[in-house]
Each structure stands twice: as C-alpha cells, then as structure tokens.
C-alpha cells in the first residue's frame, strides 16, 4: 500500500517536474532532544542566540540563499514563541520569492511525528529540503539538487540525498569538535549511494558488521569514518509517506535512514553529496554550540558573520584585528581588555581591568571591574558584578552574578538566575529557575515538558544541593525559607542534578575544553585502535610497518622468520575469533587479506591454519592421549571445510604435514605419540590425499634419521596406503 502510494505520487510528479515546482523546505524548529536543558525549558532551542542572532535566522537565511521559495517551519515545543518570533521578524514581512509559513504541531514528540504532521497538511508538492532549525551553512544547494533530480529521473527509488562533509578521520576530532559519536558510512564511490550508516559506534566493540550481500552486490565500496553528517537532506515526497506508513520511525537517522538501508523489499535508496569548500554543521549539544560559534567568529560561515548583518535584525558590528567584533555603542573602560576572537554586543558596559577573551557577549550587559571572562557565552542583559571569574560558561538572558562569583568550566546558568556573593558554582552544573523534571530515561522526548508534570518536589532538590555542598557560606535563615536558595544568599535558582549519563558524559557535551586526562584517554584508545587494527584484518597501517621484504616468498624461515611468526600469530588470532562465532566466510576473507598483506602463499595459510586448529584442540582439557585424539578429531571435523579451502594442491597438503611434524617435534609434544593416528584421521576426513602423504614420505626418505621419527611411526599406515594404491592400480 505504502509502496503504491509512493510510486504513484512519484509517477504523477514526473510531468509536473517538467513544469516548475517551487523548491520547498521543511524546517524542524525543535531538536526533539534534551541536550540543551535547562535552557530549552523556557525558550525553544532554535531561538537561542548563536553569536547574537537566533539560530533559526541562520537556517532561514541559508534556505533563502539557496533559492528555497517556500519554507515550512514546524513548531512543536514552545510553538507560540517560535511563531511570535517569526511574525515579528523580517522573514514573514518580506515580500518576494521567499515565504515562511509556520505550522504548529504541538503533540509531535519526534522528528518522525513532525514529518507525519507535515504529510497530513499536504503542503509538500515536490522535492524538498529537510533541515533542522539549528543548522548553520553557507553551501550552495544547486549542484546537490541537480544531482538529486537527475537521479530521480533515472531511478524513482532514489528518495533522499544526504549532504556530508569531510572532517579529519580520527575519532578524536569527531568527539572533540562537535561532541558527536563517530559516524561510519559505507558509500559506493561511483554512484555515491549510501550503503551503511552507523552513528552510534560502540567504542568497546572495535569492529562493525556489514551485510555480506552488501559486499556481494557492489563491486567497490568505501568505508568512511572521516565524514561529518551535516543533517541537510534533500528528500522526495515519498519520504513523508514512508514516515506515515512506518509509525515506528521516530529519529531521522537512527530509524529512518537505517530502516531504509536495511529494508531491501522496497528498495529505496539514499545517496550522498559531499561538499568541500562550503560550511555546514548542526548544533547538537553545548560543545557544538561552542565550536560553531567559534567557526562563525573565524568566518568559516561567511557571509553569515556578525559584521555582514546578514539577517538585518542585529546591530552593526565592526571587525577589528584578531577577530574582535565590537558593536558601535560599547562602553568600554580604558583599562578593560578585549582579547582575540571575542564579540561584544550593543550597549554593553565593561568596567576597569576586566578581561574578555574568546567570548561572546550579548547586548545590554553590564560587566563590573576586575572581571575575567574566558571562552564564555553571555547572552543579553546580564549583570556581572566586580571580581567575577567566568571560564567556559554559558550565561543566559537576565542572569545576575553578584560580586566574586566564580563559574567553573562547563557551567550553564539558565534565564534570570541570580547567584549570591562569592559563590563558586562547580564545574558542569546547570542552574535554572525551574526545578528539574523527574528523570526520564529516553533522550527522544520533548524539549519541553509541562513544568508541572513530573517535577521532583523541592525537598529532594535541597537535599541534592546539600549533598553536593554548593554553598560554602552557611545559609541565613531567611534564605533557608525560600525554595530557591541553593545558589547562595539572595540567589535564585535550582541546581540541576547531572543528567542521565552522569558526570561521565557531562564533559563530552559541555562548552568546557576536554579535561586533560580525558584527552589522554582518547589518545590511548586511539593508539589501541591502531594496535588492534594491526592485528586486525584492516591491516592498512600494519602492512606498511611489518612488510619487511615483500619479495621473499616466506618459505625460507631463516630470513623472514619473524614475518611468518607474526603471520602465524595473526592467523591464530583470526581463528580464535572464528571460534568465538564469526562467520566462516569472514574468516576466509580475513585470512586472505592477511595473506596478501604479509605476502604469504596459500601453503603458509594452510600450515598456519592447521597449526591453529591443532592448538585449539590442544586447548581443550584432556587427561589422556585418547581424549586428545578425540578432541583433535572433533576439531578437525569442525574446521575441515575451512582448511580444505586452502588445500587446493598437493604442495599445500605437504606443507600441512611438515607443519604437523614440526609441531610434534617442537611446540606441541603432546601430539607426538599420536602422529600416525592423526595422520590416519586426516586421510579419512579427506583433508590430506594419499598422494600427498606418499610424496611426503618420499621426501623424507633421504633425510636424517632424526627427521624420520614420524615416518617410521606411521610406517604401518604408509604401507597400507601404498598397498591400497597398488590395489587400485590393478
């Protein structure tokens, strides 16, 4: 049903596309996440100022600049505020080619719901751009749109084009820049089709699982971890109907994209478009807020920079040397210093000996004397009294910091919070006038919950605060009476309990720079990654380091003994993973790639694999030789096919025999008495052919006596073999 609908609408679109369809956009004015709490309890995220202009202005300005003619702003949480803002702003007044239309959908609690609401409105007629209201970009969409349209003409199943951007290929950068998890994508380099998408890579697990059909169906495939998802999508109208048909699609990436990629019934395809010189990023959490603010100040988002007045609404800024932006009416004391990469808004007063660096300060703020502000974001009409110290904090509108307040890194002060004298707010705390709602475990909930529902009663908050020991000054009695005394005498506000992830996660998404020890951890894990990959199949760095002499064939042990020993170890490790349940096909694949990277022959593989199998048999507990024999038999039976894969010719079989002999002599003497029995077993299981065994015996004829132990041991078996072959000959 769903399919039909989608297909029908697409086929009816085709003639329409020849006639011009205005380019439409859907802007989700809600992130459906709680990462910006407690601020988003009072104001929707899209209206939060980013370098003194609301985020939604950046997104709308971008949409207009790429030639979007109709933009539908889907308001969910705080819909009234968003609508009011839009009505006041220039976007609604403006005549001309760009029309903004707010659509209200209060009960949507996820992106999926929102898109279903859009579908019900029936306003989308053709391809549309899907963005979230917190996207900052200056890219041109022309090329991507063109590509999308052309693909659609050829293949109506290409429903979506995702915009991606290159960023440094290390897990470190992803986390430290935008606070995101590493994103892993598999892209077909020719068609740019997205084949695999994973944004929640598990750090503990160092491998990913790809469907083998994926590898079978596409001749080439690039696996990227150096791409940044810009969260800008060009969608066909089918996307909306897909959402409507699948009620369980909530999250755009986690459910929708992955759902489409996994589902091969309907065969919908997603493509990617990579941008190079232009900028695109989405503000997902406080860390990306910080990073993107700095990118804007460093003018990556040009022309969306403060001194260009792209949005018209904000006051004129002047750019001085070293990235210092100043509004015309800043009242700055002569002894106050504004350092590099800072922005000071209109009507702000800065007192004597104050220092500001790497910070954004809004309009109408009053900053007292000897204040130090570092890497912080201070919104409008904030009063900061003398001797305060702020580092890497976010301070919302109307906050009042009394003299001597210290904000440690990562502190968030929500609207109109007041902090009493000489209070130290500990790192990563969030302070709000509103009490914290009760714990909700899902992070897919609304930005905004009713303030009355699910609020933890204030006593528990006080207890929290007491245990956290925020207030070094003993509370005076009258302060005790008020519920909101946690931030000191004459302070107003609740300190929030750290969120679900606990302290562990706080540093990751905070404005504060990452603590040194965490960075160390990162580096270590990154290096561990390298080591693992050394041993792993993806031996990209390994091959470079370890491939000493690629010319040697690996037969002469003397020279590249270490190589073959390494190789053996690797194969054994691979085999152990096979024991742990990895698919046999994958094991073959891995061993093959190892073979290539170490420049080994098939015979080596067979030998090493055999060695591994025997080792594993040996690893089973056994009390007597008989039991060992049994185990060995079992193991060999189990891995026969695997081993057979490498035993294509007699040479390899002989190699296995030689290996076995060597084992019995050196590493695993337990097998020595069982040699002939196992040999027999190998023969019976069709692992070794009689020709191989016989030629092995022949080879040994001329060898030393010591080498002949096993030939002698298996004399009987050999004899039988010879007779059998003679019988056959007759």
């Amino acid at each position: 049903m769903a399919q039909k609908k989608g297909l029908r609408s697409s086929s009816s679109d085709d003639p329409e596309e020849l006639a011009r369809v205005p380019l439409q956009a859907v802007l989700l004015a809600d992130s459906f996440a709680t990462k910006f709490r407690p601020i988003t309890l009072e104001r929707p995220k899209v209206l939060l100022p980013l370098v003194n202009a609301p985020m939604i202005d950046y997104t709308l300005a971008w949409l207009e600049s790429v030639g979007v003619e109709e933009a539908f702003v889907l308001c969910c949480a705080h819909s009234q505020q968003v609508k009011d803002y839009l009505n006041k702003s220039q976007w609604m007044k403006q005549q001309g080619t760009f029309a903004v239309q707010p659509i209200e959908s209060r009960d949507s609690i996820s992106a999926g719901d929102a898109l279903r609401a859009i579908y019900n409105f029936g306003v989308i007629r053709g391809d549309f751009v899907l963005v979230s209201g917190d996207t900052v970009s200056n890219m041109s969409l022309k090329e991507a749109l063109q590509e999308h349209k052309e693909r659609r003409k050829k293949d109506p199943l290409a429903v979506m084009t995702m915009v991606i951007k290159q960023s440094k290929p290390s897990s470190l950068t992803h986390q430290t820049r935008l606070g995101n998890d590493e994103i892993l994508m598999a892209i077909d380099p020719d068609t740019k089709e997205l084949l695999y998408y994973e944004d929640k890579t598990d750090q503990s697990q160092r491998f990913i699982t790809l469907d083998k059909m994926l590898l079978a169906n596409t001749p080439t495939l690039h696996l990227h971890n150096d791409k940044q998802d810009c969260y800008i999508d060009i969608c066909s109208p089918e996307v909306l109907s897909l959402f409507t048909d699948n009620f369980d699609y909530q999250h755009l990436r986690r459910h929708f994209v992955k759902g489409l990629l996994v589902d091969d019934l309907m065969g919908y395809k997603i493509f990617t478009h990579e941008i190079h010189s232009s900028y695109a990023a989405r503000i997902d959490n406080f860390r990306s807020y910080d990073t993107i603010s700095k990118d804007i100040i460093q003018r990556w988002a040009y022309p969306m920079v403060p001194d260009v007045q792209y949005f018209g609404s904000c006051s004129q800024m002047k750019l001085d040397r070293l990235g210092i932006y100043k509004a015309p009416e800043v009242n700055q004391s002569r002894t106050a210093q504004i350092r590099a990469f800072s922005l000071v808004g209109n009507g702000t007063t800065i007192g004597d000996h104050s220092e500001i660096s790497n910070s954004v300060i809004g309009q109408g703020c009053t900053i007292g004397r000897n204040v130090s502000i570092q890497g912080s974001y201070i919104w409008d009409n904030v009063i900061i009294e003398d001797d305060c110290k702020l580092s890497h904090a976010l301070v919302c509108d109307g906050v009042h910091l009394r003299a001597g307040v210290v904000l440690e890194p990562g502190v968030i002060l929500s609207f109109k919070v007041e902090v009493g004298q000489k209070i130290v707010i500990p790192a990563y705390s969030k302070v709000s006038l509103l009490p914290q709602p009760s714990k909700q475990d899902s992070d897919e909930e609304l930005e905004y919950a009713d303030a009355n529902s699910g609020v933890v009663e204030s006593p528990s908050i006080t207890s929290i605060v007491n245990t956290r020991n925020v207030d070094p000054v003993p509370d005076s009695s009258d302060a005790e009476h008020s519920d909101t005394s946690e931030v000191g005498i004459s302070g107003v506000g609740y300190i929030w309990l750290t969120s679900e992830g606990g302290h562990e996660e706080e540093w990751r998404h905070s404005i504060a720079p990452i603590p040194a020890e965490k960075l160390m951890e990162f580096f270590l894990s990154a290096h561990a990654d390298l080591e693992v990959s050394n041993q792993d199949v993806n031996s990209l760095p390994a091959s470079g380091e370890l491939q000493v002499d690629s010319e040697s064939t690996g037969f002469d042990d003397g020279e590249d003994y270490r190589d073959s020993a390494d190789f053996e170890k690797e194969v054994e490790a691979t085999f152990h993973r096979a024991l742990a349940g990895v698919n046999q096909d994958n094991v073959i694949l891995e061993i093959n790639s190892l073979r290539l990277s170490y420049n080994m022959s098939h015979a080596d593989c067979a030998g090493s694999l055999f060695y591994s199998i025997m080792r594993s048999a040996l690893a089973f507990p056994h009390s007597c030789n008989r039991e060992l024999l049994l185990n060995t038999g079992k193991e060999l039976g189990r891995w026969k096919d695997l081993l057979k894969h490498y035993l294509k010719t007699i040479d390899e079989e002989i190699e296995v025999l030689l290996k076995f002999e060597e084992m019995c002599l050196e590493t695993a003497k337990e097998f020595a008495p069982l040699f002939s029995a196992i040999l027999n077993h190998l023969y019976e299981k069709d692992i070794l052919s009689e020709d191989a065994i016989l030629s092995w015996a022949e080879e040994k004829e001329g060898a030393d006596e010591s080498d002949k132990i096993f030939v002698k041991q298996s004399e009987q078996f050999l004899k039988w073999l010879r007779e059998a072959s003679e019988d056959e000959d007759e």
């Binding site: 001309g96 700095k294 990469f341």
Partner: protein, 414 residues
C-alpha cells in the same frame, strides 16, 4: 510610496547578503534605485530641493550601512545629492535671470520659460559649475537646510500670487525632471566608463611593451583589448591573484582576444617586474587622497614597481572615486572573507579543535579582500575623464561631490 520602499528594502537586503557585489554593479543599481526614489517623491511647494535631498539621504544612509565595504554605493548617493544641489542652483539661477528679464519687460515672460527647458540640464549644470562656483562654495560652507532654503525666497519675491504659483508648479516639475535627466546621464556614464577609459589605451600602451596586471578587473581587460584592437602588439603578465584566482579568468579572456599572455604566481611578481614596462591594475575604490583600495596583493605589486621604477597605473571609472579619506572612521577598508578559500576545512578540522587546546583556537586564517595602496606608489590614474596625478584627486572629487554630503547621515532633527 510603498513600492519604492519595497524596492529600497529589497536592494538593502541584496547588499547585506552580498548578492550584489562589485563596484560597477552596485553603482549602477544604486543610481537606478535613487532615480526611482526621486521620481516617486511627491513635491511640496516650498523647499523642493531640500525635500529631495532629505529623501535621498534617508535612502542613502540605509544603503551605505547595508554594505559599508562597497564604497561605490556611497559615491553614487553623494553624486546624486550633488546633482540635486547643482540642478537646484542652476534653476534658481535661471529663475533669477528670468526675474531680471521680466522686471525689464513684463509682456514676454511666458516665452522666457518656454525657452529655458531647451537648454540641457547638463549644460546648465556645467554652467553652474563654471559660473556659479562662488555661490556653490558658499552653500558648501553653510548649513544644508538653510542653504537649500535661502535661494528660494528671491524667486517668489515681488511677484503676483497667481504667477508665482504657476511658476512654482513649473519649476517643481522642472527640477525633478532635470534631476532625473542628470541621473540618467550618470547611469549612462557608469555604463560607458569602460569604453571611455579604454579609449585612452593607445596613448599609454606602446608597441612591444610588457604589461603586468594582477587579478581580474573588467576595466583593465577592456583597456588592454582596446589597445590590441588598435593593432598594438604587446605582452601581458597576469599574476593569478590568489586566493580567488581571477587572473586565470583574465588570462583566458586575453588569449581569446589574441593577446600574448603569461600567467605567473603572485609571489613571482618581484622576479618579473624588472622586465615589465608598465603595471596596469584595476581598483575597488580611489580615495580622496589618491590612495587606492584594490584587490589583495596589489600593494605588493606597487612596491615592486616602485623599486624598479616601473610606472604603476590604476584604471577606474569615475564612480569609484570616493570623496572620503582612508583615515575616516566610517570607511571600512577591508572585508575579511571566508577562510575556506585558503584552506580546506576538512583537512584543518583538527587544528580547530576547540575542545582540546584549552578552548582557544591556535589556528587563525585571515583572508582579506582588499589592499590599500598609498598615493605615493601610484604613478597615474586613468579615469573616464582622462589621466590624473594622485595629488589631483581631491580636485576631481570637488567637481563631483559637494562637501555637505561627505557624511550622509540624517540630522538629529529628522
């Protein structure tokens, strides 16, 4: 005049969003916009010039604020203001003249007024410029509203009621008409400035010379092509003009016209300058002191040229002539563009890792759009009115602008 307001807003937005860039385009658009502002301005009976000036100033202020880097916008606003003043003056002069005549012979006053419009506004303006220099200087010194009003009373003085009314109607239409005529001429000037500049090419480019230029300027291109069309054979070195590499485009165009062209890197300019006979570059704006705001890299070329005593010639249309001095506070001399022209964001994303270096970025990429070349490095300006010395610029500017308009800002009274 709601439609005009919409036009103004539209243009302001376009300027703000940098959708209109380049001095030629923005100058032309500004002139056209001001023309429609003036034609929609309803004329009052008294102080018409003052009303026009106020209207233009109100719009002009918005335009200038929209993109302060685009100095051509301000130039055109000031030129239009100057045109209004001149036209007002010349019509006042004719009125006085007419009055003088009518005082002599009362009968044929109608004929006098019929004759006047036959004279072109430009001729009148030129006449005003040459003959009425002294009164114009006086008005320059005086206050604007006052200066605009003071010439008014004498026109109606000693006349009968009915006559003065019809006279005023006529005059009001005439003033507006004249101003619009003059603006049309200005637009035409802007359009044809390239041709007028390039007409002089043969006088400057000689046989077998080597010319060096940097980046791409349309005026330079036309100038070189004009010389080629006159069968001069010469070679051109084009410095590519990183990071926008407009020089590559210019090289293509020159080769298309059959000019021997060599593309060099910007850094090779000094090595090549000794072989060059003349440097010809375009400009973003020419300041009142003869300094030049030009695409980035040109100051280096000018210094190299000075070192080897190579003439450094700047070609520019007169709309690029800016009456401001580079030390004026409101002159924003530069525009810092996106660093993505210089470095690839993806490659450098780890250098802008704010989380790990104590929160402050260690990498700062600066990408300025313009250079300032001091007047002493410029040998010659070639504008549509001919070749000029840098020290002569202030004089040229006095011809085009009136001193009252240097600061286009509404008085606190409005």
């Amino acid at each position: 005049m709601p439609d005009v307001q919409a036009l103004v807003n539209d243009f302001v937005l376009k300027l703000k969003r940098r959708k209109i860039e380049g001095s030629h385009a923005s100058a032309r658009h500004t002139a056209e916009l001001l023309r429609s502002v003036i034609s929609h301005q309803r004329m009052r009976q008294t102080n018409q010039a003052g009303a026009l000036i106020d209207a233009v100033k109100a719009v002009g202020e918005q335009l200038i604020a929209a993109n302060p880097v685009e100095l051509a916008v301000g130039n055109i606003v000031r030129r239009v203001l100057h045109i209004i003043r001149e036209e007002d003056l010349s019509s006042t002069a004719t009125a006085i003249e007419g009055l003088g005549l009518s005082a002599g012979s009362d009968d044929d006053d109608e004929g006098q007024y019929e004759d006047r419009p036959a004279l072109s506004a430009a001729a009148l303006a030129a006449a005003a410029r040459s003959t009425l220099r002294a009164p114009s200087l006086q008005t320059l010194l005086g206050d604007i509203p006052g200066s605009a009003v003071t010439p008014q009373p004498p026109s109606s003085w000693g006349d009968s009621e009915g006559k003065s009314k019809s006279d005023k109607n006529l005059r009001s239409r005439k003033l507006k008409h004249d101003v619009i005529e003059a603006i049309n001429e200005l637009i035409q000037d802007i359009d044809t400035c390239h041709e007028q500049v390039s007409e002089q090419a043969v006088e400057h480019i000689h046989q077998n010379e080597v010319i060096l230029t940097l980046g791409r300027s349309r005026t330079v291109k036309e100038f070189l092509c004009a010389a080629k069309e006159k069968n001069r054979s010469f070679r051109v070195f084009v410095a590519e003009g990183a990071p926008r590499y407009q020089g590559h485009v210019l090289a293509k165009e020159l080769v298309g016209k059959g000019i021997q062209t060599t593309v060099i890197t910007d850094s090779a300019v000094f090595a090549m300058i000794s072989r060059v006979n003349m440097v010809i570059v375009g400009a973003h704006a020419i300041m009142a002191n003869g300094g030049v705001v030009a695409p980035v890299g040109i100051n280096m070329v000018a210094l190299a040229a000075q070192r080897h005593a190579v003439p450094f010639v700047v070609v520019a249309g007169s709309h690029k002539l800016c009456p401001l001095y580079p030390h004026n506070s409101e002159v924003l001399l530069n525009d810092l563009k996106s660093p993505s022209d210089l470095v690839d964001f993806g490659e450098f994303s780890d250098c802008m890792d704010f989380g790990s270096h104590g929160g402050s970025p260690l990498l700062h990429v600066v990408n300025p759009a313009f250079d300032y070349v001091p007047p002493k490095l410029v040998s010659l300006f070639i504008t549509d009115t001919g070749g000029h010395n840098p020290s002569y610029m202030y004089r040229l500017i006095a011809d085009y602008y009136s001193a009252d308009d240097l600061v286009v800002k509404q008085r606190s009274t409005s």
